[in-house]
């Protein structure tokens, strides 16, 4: 029996994936965290029944994958029942974790609940540098042990590396570590400069030479490991001529739920002013996806200014990133400055020049550094 919602002609496709940021709590303090500067407290988080309702609605809406993320999703005591709930709705379940709370018992519970795949973040390939980024002594060693447990349990494993000026030289070692640990997939993702990453941009932005060297490593590794190891590569926008298709377009493929239940088109969308992001406490995912003004605001091409409006790439990159446009120009509806056709494009080169000197210390991602909300 179909649960399909009758859609009007021209209506968007259902989302492919829903990312549940079940908490902002995390033992790590990485200075490029994708969480907003305004971190949410445990007291603001949704209850178990709320998340179960969200999972039910995501499945009915047509989402195929659910990503359990955070913060550290294993900080939630109800993670196992939530994974089981998603499995029962036939959703493909991903755990996106720092892995420092992952031991054999909890992994066994998650596997029994139907978990398909574990993505473990690594901050570097060397313990000292990795623990410095994470702001937690001993973190790297615990991640290595957790990765071996994931493999031993027969679950699919991804290693995630966020790349920046302090670890770019280890790109080849990152691939080698992934292969040695038996990962099926590696994310080599340059830092994206929103929120915490933007606050720490001068401390993190790599040089052009570093970027080119990492790119060369990735290209060679893809050939060497083809069919065994998928390498997803994300470049920084600051050396680009065209913007990335951020989130594959606003409200086209993806929905993000914040710990307190705000539905967002991307992780960083709450930085945008004047937006009223609907809460899953008050609205169904169906209504949010198809009806809410927030998800329609930058969906498609109607909102676009020039040069996007007349650009032949407008349905390839969807105008780039709204959060970056706002963060760098103060106007979320402008063309992403990453585009060389944008009048604001010189901002990118100026940022590169500003980051060329000795790196400043990190502003670690922690509640005491977070902005009030």
């Amino acid at each position: 029996m179909s649960t399909a919602h009758p859609r009007a002609a021209g209506a968007p496709e259902p989302p492919l994936a829903v990312l549940l940021e079940v908490t902002h709590r995390c033992p790590l303090q990485c200075p490029y965290c994708s969480n907003p500067l305004a971190l949410e407290r445990a007291s603001a988080e949704l209850e178990t029944a709320d998340w179960q309702r969200v999972i039910d609605q995501a499945a009915a809406l047509g989402a195929l994958q659910v990503h359990f993320s955070g913060g550290e999703p294993m900080s939630r005591k109800d993670l196992v029942p939530l994974v089981r709930h998603a499995t029962q709705r036939q959703l493909y379940t991903n755990l996106i974790t720092s892995a420092v709370l992952l031991d054999e018992v909890r992994l066994g519970e998650l596997k029994d609940a139907g978990l398909e795949h574990v993505q473990i973040s690594f901050q570097d390939t060397q313990a000292q540098g990795a623990d410095h980024i994470a702001g937690l002594a001993g973190a790297h060693q615990r991640k290595l042990e957790a990765a071996r447990l994931v493999k031993a349990a027969g679950l699919a494993l991804t290693l995630n590396f966020v790349i920046h000026r302090h670890n770019a030289e280890r790109a080849a070692a990152m691939v080698a570590l992934g292969a040695a640990l038996g990962a099926g997939r590696i994310e080599m993702a340059h830092t994206q400069y929103y929120g915490w990453g933007l606050r720490n941009r001068d401390a993190l932005l790599p040089s052009r030479a570093q970027l080119d060297a990492v790119t060369a490593v990735v290209e060679a590794a893809r050939t060497e490991h083809q069919g065994r190891l998928v390498i997803d590569y994300v470049v920084p926008d600051y050396y680009a001529h065209r913007p990335k298709a951020c989130m594959s377009g606003w409200g086209r493929r993806f929905m993000n739920i914040s710990p307190s239940g705000r539905a967002l088109p991307c992780h960083a969308a709450e930085t945008l002013p004047g937006m009223d992001f609907p809460s899953v406490r008050e609205h169904s995912l169906q209504d949010i996806w198809y009806e809410s003004p927030a998800f329609q605001r930058f969906r498609g091409t109607q909102w676009m200014p020039d040069p996007c409006r007349s650009c032949e790439r407008r349905e390839l990159d969807w105008g780039g990133c709204r959060c970056q446009a706002f963060a760098l120009t103060g106007d979320a509806a402008r063309t992403d400055p990453a585009c060389a056709l944008s009048a604001d494009h010189p901002l990118m080169a100026a940022a590169v020049r500003a980051a060329a000197g000795p790196p400043p210390p990190f502003a670690y991602r922690r509640y005491s550094e977070a902005s009030a909300r």
Binding site: G62, H117, G184, R228
Partner: protein, 93 residues
């Protein structure tokens, strides 16, 4: 890695890959770690036979009989499709 052209190779889904029917889209979907594929009709018929037991030759024979098509033609399509998904890490040969 053996080539899909080798008839005795037994293709199977890679670890963490699932192939299922989606009621909302009324379509088959191939789900992998943080990726997914929406296979076309021909690929769906092939993937339904990828069960970790059938060989490439058995898959070709099954499709050739059911679709009343020359086995050589089917073998070419099956080989290309399996190689493509193997290159993307979704299938092991």
């Amino acid at each position: 890695m053996s080539a899909a052209g080798q008839d005795t190779a037994v293709p199977r889904l890679a670890p963490g890959v699932k192939f299922r029917f989606d009621e909302v889209r009324q379509a088959w979907v191939l789900l992998a770690p943080e990726r997914l594929f929406l296979p076309d009709e021909q690929a769906v018929e092939i993937l339904k036979l990828v069960d970790g037991a059938r060989s490439v030759a058995a898959i070709v024979a099954d499709l050739a009989e059911r679709f009343e098509a020359p086995p050589e033609l089917i073998a070419g399509d099956v080989g290309a499709m399996l190689q493509d998904l193997a290159g993307k890490g979704a299938i092991r040969l």
